[in-house]
């Protein structure tokens, strides 16, 4: 796997400026997160060679220089795969012929086979159909398969799940996780959906107004109070835990990390496997004493590490439990009533835990 060096400058007539200089470390999946207009798609287009940044920009992927002061590798020679927001299937070709188009021009001979890709994305029944007959979600599955069949060195995805209904999103996210697991193909993923980001990405680049606001492991950035990420309605902390013993009577499984544990239903992974969990900030409440006789199964001892400094009615509180960060969304009144202070020991009651993956990263 290779590092991606980006030094990009691009000025558009509408006043938008892309200006970044960074190295994205070798990872399975890097998410570029930001509001619309923050330059996410422009960044991907520059990597693919579809947009041309100003002189002085450089793009290097591993040992390959795609752009510098005297080189510009054409798009068709960059060996990238690109899944666009709109699937861009060739409408005069059937699904099967769309896949063959990529297969015949594949960048490397050692890419996945047609059968494998159709299996990962469950395309068998779609093969004879025309793109116009497919739903948005189906079209996007075909587009992902087509990109994979071109055997790229890196897969670029531009909000591939935008405008797709919730059920199909979940399904496609699952497919993408399968692809990650099976191929280890590096992905650069643009999104403004926190759930997509936390499920797929292990490295996160936060863009704001064409500049990099922060970057780091997804687990860390999600819980940072100064980033917009934590302030979304869906804000959540991401934890990594190990699958432990099962309680067959109640269908619970212990997920443990650094001496603390959570009991969760519906875990299918084997004992010893590492899992990624998502704990929504709105499902965490705090007590100063160990809670008794509560319906909440999971209570973690934690230390307050930061409290949002604002006058809004609901505040975010960042906690640390056994080396991992948690978020709790409380009313300002509660923060005042409990007289919460940074450094204080509290008990975090966790109402819900979502499993993000059955597989380690």
């Amino acid at each position: 796997m290779s590092e991606l060096h980006l030094k990009l400058q691009l000025q558009r007539s509408n006043g938008f400026n892309l200006d970044l200089d960074t190295v994205i470390p070798p990872r399975t999946c890097t998410a570029v997160y930001g509001a619309s207009g923050s330059g996410k798609t422009t960044l991907l287009n520059c990597v693919a060679g579809l947009q041309h940044p100003a002189a002085g920009s450089t793009i290097r992927f591993g040992a390959n220089t795609w752009l510098d002061h005297n080189t510009e590798v054409a798009t068709h020679q960059r060996q990238v795969g690109y899944v666009f927001q709109d699937a861009r299937l060739f409408p005069w070709l059937s699904v099967s012929d769309n896949l063959d188009y990529a297969l015949r021009r594949r960048h490397r001979s050692d890419g996945p086979s047609r059968e494998q890709v159709c299996d990962w994305l469950q395309l068998q029944e779609l093969l004879p159909q025309e793109p116009a007959q497919l739903s948005r979600g189906q079209q996007q599955r075909v587009a992902i398969a087509r990109a994979l069949l071109s055997a790229p060195q890196i897969l670029l995805l531009d909000e591939p799940l935008a405008n797709i209904d919730q059920v199909n999103r979940r399904q496609i996210l699952g497919h993408l996780q399968t692809v990650q697991r099976e191929t280890g193909l590096p992905m650069l993923f643009v999104s403004h959906d926190i759930e997509e980001v936390t499920r797929l990405a292990d490295w996160l680049v936060v863009l704001e107004g064409g500049r990099i606001r922060a970057q780091g492991p997804t687990l860390d950035l999600c819980s940072q109070l100064d980033l917009a990420l934590a302030h979304e309605e869906q804000a959540a902390a991401i934890l990594e835990a190990e699958v432990g013993e099962r309680d067959a009577e109640f269908g619970l499984t212990r997920l443990s990390f650094a001496g603390q544990s959570l009991w969760v239903t519906g875990v299918s992974a084997a004992t010893g496997a590492r899992m990624r969990l998502r704990i929504p900030a709105r499902d965490v409440s705090l007590c100063l004493q160990p809670p008794q006789q509560t319906s909440i199964l999971n209570v973690l001892q934690a230390r307050v590490t930061a409290i949002e400094d604002s006058q809004s009615d609901r505040l975010l509180v960042q906690l640390e439990a056994a080396g991992q960060l948690l978020l709790a969304r409380l009313t300002r009144k509660s923060v005042v009533n409990l007289n919460l202070q940074t450094g204080q020991l509290v008990y975090a009651q966790i109402k819900s835990v979502a499993l993000l993956s059955d597989e380690p990263h």
Binding site: H76, V80, Y82, F84, F90, A102, R105, R106, S150
Partner: protein
């Protein structure tokens, strides 16, 4: 000169002309659809001139240009060893100029509407420029190419003014259908004239009918 010879010559002229129209009109239409040159609008207007000019105007200038003592006429003589004036080649050149808007306009419209996103998708999948032309642009614009070729062909079959001026009505060389019809009428051979006129009318109708029936109704001749 029998009628079959006239029809054969007309088809030959229209076929050769259509081939040249596609070869020259495609890059021209692409440039007009995508170019940013300040000459673009002027060239667009020149291409459209035959739509509004009386054909005799174009024919008149070509007659002068093709004359044996003109520079073009002499150049042609040196290159090919034969005379340009009143030759089949002269008819082809005249027809190409005269029918050019009928080929360029539908192609230009198609190139403008071309989905750039598909070209980008093909490039990312590893298709170089020539490959993208053959596998994305041609199939995307296939209806417009058929329309352009059909209109160019039909319009060449039906042209009169230019051919009258530069052709010279030489049987087997430059006497095409429309001229032959004029010839028959002048010599009061009304039976033959009827046959030719009705044939030309039927041909034109069938051609247009087939074009319009294909439902390619998003483009109509514009002048």
């Amino acid at each position: 000169m029998n009628e079959l010879g006239v029809i054969w010559l007309t088809i030959k002229l229209a076929t050769v002309t259509t081939a040249w129209l596609l070869v020259l009109g495609t890059p021209l239409a692409w440039w007009l659809a995508n170019g940013h040159s300040r000459w673009r609008t002027a060239v667009e207007a020149v291409v459209a001139l035959p739509l509004i000019l009386p054909p005799t105007v174009l024919g008149f200038y070509l007659l002068i240009a093709f004359a044996p003592d003109s520079s073009l006429g002499q150049l042609w003589q040196q290159l090919t060893g034969s005379r340009l004036a009143f030759s089949f080649s002269a008819l082809v050149i005249g027809s190409v100029l005269y029918s050019m808007p009928f080929v360029v306009q539908p192609l230009q419209a198609a190139f403008r509407q071309l989905d750039r996103g598909l070209l980008e998708a093909a490039a990312v999948l590893g298709a170089p420029a020539r490959d993208r032309w053959l596998t994305i642009i041609l199939p995307s614009c296939r209806h417009s190419f058929i329309t352009a070729a059909s209109l160019g062909f039909a319009h060449t079959v039906g042209e009169f003014g230019v051919v009258l001026m530069i052709g010279g009505n030489i049987p087997g060389e430059t006497q095409v259908l429309s001229i032959a019809l004029f010839d028959r009428v002048e010599s009061l051979q009304f039976a033959q004239a009827h046959a030719l006129a009705a044939g030309l009318m039927a041909f034109s109708f069938v051609m247009l009918y087939l074009l319009y029936r294909r439902g390619d109704g998003n483009w109509r001749l514009q002048s």
